[in-house]
């Protein structure tokens, strides 16, 4: 199981995956918006999306778990 965490404070701009989806390494899982930038959050490894813990528009903290892969 791999927890994908936010690397900085921001809001969730777009969620681009869903529970059950198969993802490859480097696939975009969601996009954060922070510091006037759209910041892609990518899968650190291939796997299946087990949980998506955030919704679009939600503000996340640095280190907060966004997606869980297995």
């Amino acid at each position: 199981m791999t927890e994908v965490k936010a690397e900085l404070v921001g809001s969730v701009w777009k969620v681009k995956t869903q529970v059950g989806a198969q993802v490859a390494e480097e696939d975009e899982l969601l996009i954060l918006e922070s510091m006037k930038m759209e910041i892609p959050v990518t899968a650190p490894r291939a796997g299946t999306v087990k949980e998506v813990r955030v919704k679009e528009g939600e503000v996340v903290k640095e280190g907060q778990v966004l997606v869980v892969l297995e």
């Binding site: 690397e7 900085l8 404070v9 922070s34 510091m35 006037k36 930038m37 759209e38 910041i39 892609p40 640095e62």
Partner: protein, 490 residues
């Protein structure tokens, strides 16, 4: 002095021959390091012996050893083991790296675990430091050592012995004794900690061979000392080459990310990019490259990481690199695409102002040629620390889609026109309209119209402009008023 080929003289059966023979026997014994068994163990750990490392470090046949015949001496009436301590566990001398003299202090783990003894430190390493300073040459330290030989350092005469603790990494047992914390040695000094978390290490390598190749490459960008210019290298990449492919690397939309290292590789001489600290504070990219054969230090914002926003670690990383370049006469090139410093309660608690000030200090104090290319965003204090106009760039240019502003248009509208937007019949449309109005005011043509920047350039011209900018500043000499020293914002 001992050369590698010392064993070729044949002993003769007379007094002369015997005396010379003894010398060769002593050399042979010490060249054998800690013996076959210890050498096997070293190899089994995936490590090379100290002499194999030195063989890789220097150009073939150039190593000259000093102190081969040294060994442990009794310290303060203690015991010593002359036979068991060939060269006192440290190999010292000099050789050539790409034809330039470099000195070495290399610990031999097969001799008392490479521990640092009195002879090895006070006499052998000290000799290297003395001579390298006299000739203004670099020293490479190859550390593979258990640390200080405590038995030769313990006691109150430790007061006189700064030499012994100069370059030590603290081990787990020492931490346990000092604070009670349970840690492993790897947690204390491993590359995982120092190359990914602490930022102490520059580059992680897989093995000894890669490490020494990297040391040689690192030296190739530097002068032998701060009294010289870095070496010019013939790279064969034309200085006036137009840069292809930037349109496919850099999105015009300032909100979209890209990997700035692709820009660096496209702009500078082919195969010349040497990144430092690539796995730490990844939101800023620093490293050496060559521009028409000239060594340069590149400082580039990385939109792929944290949107390229600067934080404490990024500022520290950049500050240290900028000062290294300035110390060794290496021109600086800033590739700017920065949304500013990170904002928020967390970074304030970290003291981001204190850390950001280091980068500002380094940039403002640097007297080497400095070229700034504003690729896209140049917002707020990020613009200053990335060598904006106020920090005396020798050349400062912008790409056509650059945005130079105290903040981005969206943020500016939120602050300046908040009431106007709220009062509007259609707040969304009004906001969008105001954003566009501000966007028109932050184009590079405004700054170029005031001649606040030197030019707006087609991105394909970037390489040529950088090389010309460095050439233009070749005779730069800045004399500042005397002061005892500055107060670096540590």
């Amino acid at each position: 002095m001992t050369f590698w080929s010392a064993n070729r003289i044949r002993p003769v059966e007379n007094e002369y021959g015997k005396l010379v023979g003894e010398l060769h026997a002593r050399r042979k014994k010490n060249l054998a390091m800690g013996g076959a068994e210890k050498i096997d163990k070293q190899h089994q750990r995936g490590k090379l012996t100290v002499r194999e490392r030195i063989g890789l470090l220097f150009d073939q046949g150039t190593f000259v050893e000093l102190g081969l015949l040294a060994h442990q001496q009794p310290v303060r009436g203690g015991e010593s083991d002359p036979d068991g301590t060939p060269a006192d566990g440290v190999v010292t001398g000099h050789g050539d790296v790409d034809g330039r003299q470099v000195w070495v202090i290399a610990y031999d783990f097969t001799v008392m675990a490479g521990s640092m003894g009195a002879v090895g430190e006070q006499f052998k390493a000290a000799r290297v430091r003395e001579l390298a300073l006299r000739y203004r040459k670099p020293i490479v330290w190859l550390l593979d050592s258990a640390g200080a030989r405590i038995q030769e350092a313990a006691g109150s005469t430790f007061a006189g012995s700064g030499w012994l603790f100069a370059d030590q990494v603290v081990g787990a047992r020492l931490v346990k004794a000092a604070t009670g914390e349970d840690v492993t040695d790897h947690e204390m000094g491993g590359s995982q900690v120092h190359c990914y978390e602490s930022g102490v290490g520059d580059n992680e390598v897989a093995d000894d061979v890669e490490c020494i190749a990297m040391v040689r490459r690192f030296l190739s960008y530097l002068p032998s000392s701060n009294t010289e210019q870095p070496p010019l290298v013939v790279t064969g990449d034309p200085p006036d080459r137009l840069v292809d492919g930037l349109d496919k690397i850099v999105p015009v939309n300032p909100r979209s990310a890209y990997d700035v290292r692709k820009v660096v590789k496209a702009v500078f001489d082919q195969e010349s990019w040497f990144e430092l600290k690539p796995t730490w504070a990844k939101n800023i990219v620093v490293g050496f490259a060559r521009a028409g054969g000239q060594s340069v230090g590149v400082v580039a914002n990385q939109p792929m990481q944290k949107g390229g926003a600067l934080d404490s670690d990024a500022a520290d990383k950049a500050a240290r690199f900028i000062r290294m370049c300035d110390a060794f006469n290496i021109p600086l090139v800033y590739l700017m695409d920065v949304p500013g410093f990170m904002v928020g309660s967390q970074v304030e608690k970290e003291g981001i102002i204190r850390h950001g000030a280091k980068m500002l200090y380094a940039t403002s104090e640097a007297t080497v040629p400095k070229v700034t290319v504003i690729m896209r965003k140049a917002y707020g204090a990020g613009y200053y620390v990335m060598n904006g106009k106020g920090y005396q760039p020798d050349t400062i240019v912008a790409w056509p889609f650059a945005e130079i502003s105290v903040m981005g248009p969206e943020g500016a509208v939120n602050i300046i026109f908040n009431k106007q937007v709220e009062a509007a019949e259609d707040p969304t449309a009004t906001r969008a309209q105001l954003i566009e109005t501000i966007r028109a005011q932050i184009t590079p043509y405004l700054a170029a119209g005031w001649a606040m920047i030197d030019d707006v350039i087609d991105p394909v011209e970037t390489r040529r402009v950088i090389i010309k900018g460095i050439e233009q500043a070749r005779d730069k000499k800045i004399d500042r008023p005397w002061r005892k020293h500055g107060n670096i914002p540590v």
